[in-house]
Structure formats: structure tokens, C-alpha cells
Amino acid sequence: MSDNKIALVTGASRGIGKAIAEHLANDGMTVIGTATSNGGAEAITAYLSALGNEGCGMRLDVADSDSVTEVIKAITERFGAPTVLVNNAGITRDNILMRMKDDEWDSVINTNLNALYRVSKACLRGMTKARWGRIVNITSVVGAMGNMGQSNYAATKAGAQGFARALARELGSRAVTVNSVAPGFIDTDMTRELPDAQRDALQGQIPLGRLGDPAEIAAVVSFLCSNAAGYVTGETIHVNGGMYMA
């Protein structure tokens, strides 16, 4: 399906991002995965090489504008301009709002939401020029349902979906689609931090009766990045085992 497209996946060292990077590599794209540490970037290079992919891992802090500019430039020089972007990097700093600190609020907004502005903007030139592009934001069911202790995280995830709808309108005439995938509770390090009691309670709210697998998110992202998905834009696809049905 791919004529050697360059795909950029942020936050690809583990969890959902890693599953997405592997899936896009198997789709035939050259994948660049980013991580905030050198160790993470090396791990990405290792698993991409194992798949025979020409891409690599790179160190990128999506919360830092200069880092974003540098990395996009380096990718463009070495591989060509990315026309597939998966904004996956994200963090949580949970606290009920009455106890939330400025830095908990600010760091989540900066990494999860401001980064969309930085990274997407840096990739748009290549996409509009190619008259083809795919941007997928990984959001969360929490952006739609809310979740106790996650006002900062929920705000960024709902914000990312609004961002996608506005950008989809701006870029439609250039055949660039912008969508969101909203995972429910997926079995990753992020959800492993939850207390057991909360995990059990959650499971009871999921019709399919289990947490999701990162590969089940990657499959939907892969579809949205394909040529076949060319008429889907501005949409949020929920992948949550039925715990929230939009």
C-alpha cells in the first residue's frame, strides 16, 4: 500500500507508540520513532532494524520547540519529509484539581497539547507540497468521558480532537487528513500505574471485559494512515472495548 512513505511517530519507545511504529513499518513505511532519552531512541532503532526497516529512533522532546525544529530538519535531510505523522507522545500528572500544582497542569498541557502545534506545524510544509498527508493524534476516552484526577489530561485530549477537526478543514484541499484515535484503557506502563482496585473497577465498565492491547490501537492508526482512509478526516475513532460508545 505504500510507495515508501516517511512516517514520524512520537513517543515510540514503548506502549501504544511502539505498537504503532511496528505496524507502520510492517505496512512498508520508513518509520522514524522518537523518545525523550538516548536509550529510548536506541531501543527504537533496534526494534525497527529487527523488522528490516530503514528508519530509526531519534531523541526528541516534543515540549521543546528547538528540539522539534532540529529533528524535523534532520529527518527531512536524511530520509525526506514525513507525510505521515502520529502524535502519540503523552504524559499524565494526575491530581484532583483542588490539589493540582501549576507544574502538573503546565507540563501535561505542554507535552500533550502544545506539542501538537509544534510538531504538526513543522510537518505541514512537506505534506502540502506532496498533496498528500496523514496526521493522527492519539487521544483518550478520558477526553470524552472525563476521569477523576485527570482534568489536565482530559483537557489536552479533548483539545487534541478539536485541533484535529480545525486542521482537517484547513488542509482538506491538499488531501491531508487529520484524525484522532481515542484509546480506552490499554495494557501499557501508563495504565499499570493505576491502583489495582481502580483497574478492577474499570474492567467492570468495559463490555469486552478486558484491557485493550496496544496492537489493537495500532491497527486503527494504520488504517487511518493508509490510502484507503482518504475520505476520513476530522474524525475521532474510539477504541475502548465498548466502555464509551460515541
Binding site: T128, E170, L171, S173, R174
Partner: protein
């Protein structure tokens, strides 16, 4: 007609999908040549490539006519 003027007009015609003879020097990209906001951004990108330069955003926003584009290139590059 200067070489720069010809090159600018050729790029404007290509980017906006209009005939080169429609690209009058006084023409406005949006009002006369039917460009939308994205077209004008892409036009500046094309000029940057043709003349191997970077046009800062605050300057790019002022380039709204063929003449202003030619003037900018003449003043900054020629």
C-alpha cells in the same frame, strides 16, 4: 522585463494554476488571482525554494501582490 520578474510570475502562475499572461504586475493574489490563505503560504514556500532563501513570516504576510513579491526579492536578494 527583468529576470526576477519573469521567474516570480512563472511561479505565481504555476502555484495558483493561472495562465502566465493573467499574472499582471499589479495583480493581488487573493482578489485577482483567486488564491486562498493556504495558496498564499504555499506561494511563499515556492518563492523561497526558487530563490534559495527564507522569508520570515512577518515579511511573508505582507507579500500580497505580484509586485510586492518582485520588490521583496529585488530588495533582499538581488
Amino acid at each position: 522585463m527583468s529576470n526576477i520578474e519573469e521567474r516570480v510570475k512563472k511561479i505565481v502562475a504555476e502555484q495558483l494554476g493561472v495562465k502566465e499572461d493573467e499574472v499582471q504586475t499589479e495583480a493581488s493574489f487573493v482578489e485577482d488571482l483567486g488564491a486562498d490563505s493556504l495558496d498564499t503560504v504555499e506561494l511563499v514556500m515556492a518563492l523561497e525554494e526558487e530563490f534559495e532563501t527564507e522569508i520570515p513570516d512577518e515579511e511573508a504576510e505582507k507579500i500580497t501582490t505580484v509586485k510586492l513579491a518582485i520588490d521583496y526579492i529585488n530588495e533582499n536578494l538581488a
